[in-house]
């Protein structure tokens, strides 16, 4: 017997939650307990009184499971609302990465040239290294990191995706 897997789609969810202790564990635990995927998860307070947090989750699942994920998140007591940004329409997704490269000579020049193409900023430099700050969609960052691999990449830190719907209305 072999275990079958269903075809998955990648979706980005915005989960607006009450900022109470344990809320992140509640959400992350729901995903592990029910066997859902998390590709990326970011969380931050988003109101002046720090009472509400916004969690952005990128997940892969079949359409039926995605419907379950939204319903399961929505029934957690501290959850205000859950929006499937991918299903609802056009939205902006951004991620920030800090990328450290080490090298001298041509590698160093090439790294700077590529950084310029990708609109990455130098936020730290020594005579043998740079730290670049780059923002963009997942594919752009993946590509930039891949290119840096050829010019002395030694370390990457990524924030994970944050996302917001296009247009004038709030989620």
């Amino acid at each position: 017997m072999h275990i079958r897997e269903e075809k998955a789609e990648r979706h980005t969810l915005a989960v607006i939650v009450d900022n109470e202790p344990g809320i992140l564990a509640r959400i992350a635990g729901l995903f592990t307990a029910r066997g859902y995927n998390i590709e990326s998860l970011t969380v931050s307070e988003v109101t002046a009184d720090k009472a509400v947090s916004r969690i952005t989750i990128v997940t892969s699942a079949s359409p039926a499971i995605l419907e379950q994920i939204v319903a399961q998140l929505d029934r957690l007591v501290p959850v205000h609302k859950v929006r499937d940004l991918t299903a609802e329409g056009p939205h902006v997704e951004r991620e920030l990465a800090l990328v450290k490269v080490q090298g001298t000579g041509d590698h160093r020049i090439e790294a700077l040239r590529l950084a310029d193409v990708y609109r990455a900023r130098v936020v730290d430099a020594t005579t043998t290294s740079f730290v670049f700050e780059v923002t963009g969609g997942i594919e752009k960052i993946d590509k930039f990191v891949e290119l840096m691999g050829e010019v002395g990449l030694i370390e990457v830190a990524r924030t994970g995706i944050v996302a917001i719907a296009r247009g004038r209305d709030a989620a």
Partner: protein
């Protein structure tokens, strides 16, 4: 307003919430609360505390109390092992949607995270087995949290809520005032259905040729009015009614429209009706795997309507054509009202009932009777015969005896059938019977048990003795973990790995040691007299009813099979299964 200790605030809040009974067990981290209970009782504000013998039993007793009264069950246990012992019952209440509030003591806030004596991460451990939980670090928040906990436990889809209170918060002081009605900022269950959906389901019911009402525990949770409305809907539409294990009693078993339970050990007629239906209306039921059998063969030609207060239950395993998120009682009321307002005539379902009559003719619950040994099914029927006029409350443990009770004991009204359906917790029945007896002092309460399950919370015999609760235990003793043995017969060519109940105690002497009356029934001819002796005893009584050792529970849908592939008798069992079926629970 003067300040009170957290422990006094807790007790006052429980009084304000109308709590009459608390099931608990003291320990270091809840001593201030026990002292507050003691002082409140001395001052005439008495909450009755029932001292169980194990914290798991406190949770099941609270479930039994809740399920039989409709009120939330309340549990009070200490930190560490007190809380971890309660976890099974908390999970049980979550799966069966039982309203319950569990108060756990915790080490003082300054010691949290230091691996202190009797410290466990109670909110961490119970986060995913409770509907919601709290760690209260400020006595001023304790009152509002307790009121909110009861609101969450009892509204929407009911469930267990855990409130963890560090010992220093029980001692520190703050002000407390009884809050008004709770308007929670994020938690607002949908109670009333979308009127357009109600119109649609009424249209569908009126047009259906082969409808089935598939009801579940939600009808019971919604309150007794929902059961009455279900009867009314069935009457005016003429539709047949089946139910899950959790929903038994919502519709009377004596009604000609009753098909019996559906699913793995459901009746032939209920499962075939589901298979052939053109319209299935799920009312407070959740398409559990025990109900659906093989999903791709489940009710293949029907349109499906699902009424559930929990949106996540809808489309979880079975695709639904018309979802209705609402309290099932409210939805039933709306359906009946719209049906009557439109003056729909009762649909002509004669052809449908004729087909059902053919399935019923199989007499799927018949069993080979014996004059030399007691058939377990016969024992259940004899128990029903002797007690049904008193409308007893029946609790069960988990296994064959539970399914035989569900099949052969007819229930006429809600809140009379208490069983661990979702989690399937052996050891549930005795403490649940204790809780039910406390909530219904005049009722006849019987735990139908197996000899293996009963041993999982046997220590609670003492609790019943202490509080003079006249609960009855009726053990179908076949000296096997019968359902395990049955599956080994079906799947593993009768290799009985560890399913024999060896070294059994003498249940009669055991009962007597705890101050119970002990009765043994060994011969079919002694069955009625033994049951009568149990009923005549005005205190607790335990019956060791020796039944046929190798009887199996049929009908049965084997793992991974469809509703139409039922096994009706033992001679249809092949003894092996393929790996796909073996991998299913």
């Amino acid at each position: 307003m003067t300040e009170k200790s957290g422990a006094d605030i807790l007790v006052e809040a429980l009084c304000d919430l109308g709590v009459e009974v608390v099931f608990g067990y003291p320990g270091g981290a809840v001593l201030p609360i026990y002292d507050a209970l003691f002082r409140a009782a001395r001052d005439g504000r008495r909450i009755r505390h029932i001292l169980v013998r194990h914290e798991q039993a406190a949770t099941h007793a609270a479930e039994g109390y809740a399920r039989s009264t409709g009120k939330p069950g309340v549990v009070l246990v200490t930190s560490g092992p007190g809380a971890t012992n309660a976890v099974t019952g908390i999970t049980d209440a979550l799966l069966d949607s039982i309203p319950m509030v569990v108060i756990t003591g915790q080490v003082p806030t300054a010691l949290i995270g230091t691996d202190a004596f009797q410290e466990a991460d109670t909110v961490g451990i119970t986060r995913h087995c409770s509907k919601h939980n709290y760690l209260v670090k400020d006595p001023a928040k304790l009152g509002p949290v307790i009121h909110e906990a009861f609101h969450i436990a009892t509204s929407g889809r009911p469930g267990p809520v855990v409130v963890d209170i560090p010992k220093d918060v029980q001692v520190a002081t703050a002000r407390y005032a009884k809050p008004g009605p709770i308007q929670h900022k994020t938690y607002r269950p949908t109670v009333k259905a979308d009127p357009r959906a109600i119109e649609q389901v009424v249209d569908m019911l009126a047009a259906a040729e082969r409808p089935v009402l598939y009801t579940g525990g939600g009808v019971i949770n919604s309150g007794p009015a929902a059961s009455q409305l279900l009867r009314e809907l069935a009457r005016i539409t003429g539709a047949p009614v089946t139910s899950t294990l959790m929903g038994l009693g919502a519709f009377p078993a004596s009604s000609p429209q009753w098909l019996g339970m559906l699913g793995m050990h459901g009746t032939y007629e209920a499962n075939h009706a589901m298979n052939q239906a053109d319209l299935v209306i799920a009312l407070g039921s959740r398409f559990d795997d025990r109900v659906t059998g093989r999903l791709d063969a489940f009710s293949p030609n029907s349109r499906k309507v699902h009424v559930d207060i929990d949106r996540s239950s809808i489309n979880k395993t079975v695709r639904i054509d018309l979802p209705i998120v609402a309290d099932v009682g409210h939805a039933l009321e709306d359906m009946v009202r719209v049906w009557k307002a439109r003056q729909h005539p009762k649909p002509d379902t004669r052809d449908w009932w004729a087909r059902i009559a053919e399935w019923r003719a199989k007499a799927c619950l018949s069993f080979p009777d014996s004059t030399t040994e007691i058939m377990p099914q016969r024992a259940i029927r004899a128990l029903w015969q002797a007690t049904h006029a008193r409308n007893p409350i029946i609790t069960t443990e988990v296994g064959q005896h539970q399914m035989w009770a569900a099949q052969h004991f007819g229930f006429e009204s809600p809140n009379k059938w208490l069983t661990s359906g979702g989690l399937g917790t052996m050891g549930y029945g005795l403490p649940a019977a204790i809780g039910a007896q406390l909530g219904n002092p005049k009722a006849l309460v019987i735990d139908i048990a197996g000899e293996a399950s009963i041993q999982m919370n046997i220590q609670e015999l003492a609790t019943a003795t202490q509080y003079r609760l006249p609960v009855k235990i009726f053990i179908l003793n076949n000296e096997y973990m019968g359902m395990v043995r049955q599956w080994q017969e079906l799947t593993y060519e009768s290799r009985y790995a560890e399913s024999y109940s060896d070294s059994l105690p003498d249940f009669v002497k055991l009962g007597e040691a705890y101050g119970w009356k002990g009765i043994r029934i060994e011969q079919p001819d002694d069955l009625d007299a033994g049951i009568a002796a149990m009923l005549d005893h005005d205190g607790p009584a335990i019956v060791d009813c020796r039944v046929a050792k190798l009887a199996n529970c049929f009908p049965m849908i084997p793992s991974g099979a469809a509703h139409t592939d039922m096994i009706l008798q033992a001679n249809e069992v092949s003894g092996t299964m393929d790996d796909e079926a073996k991998a299913l629970v």
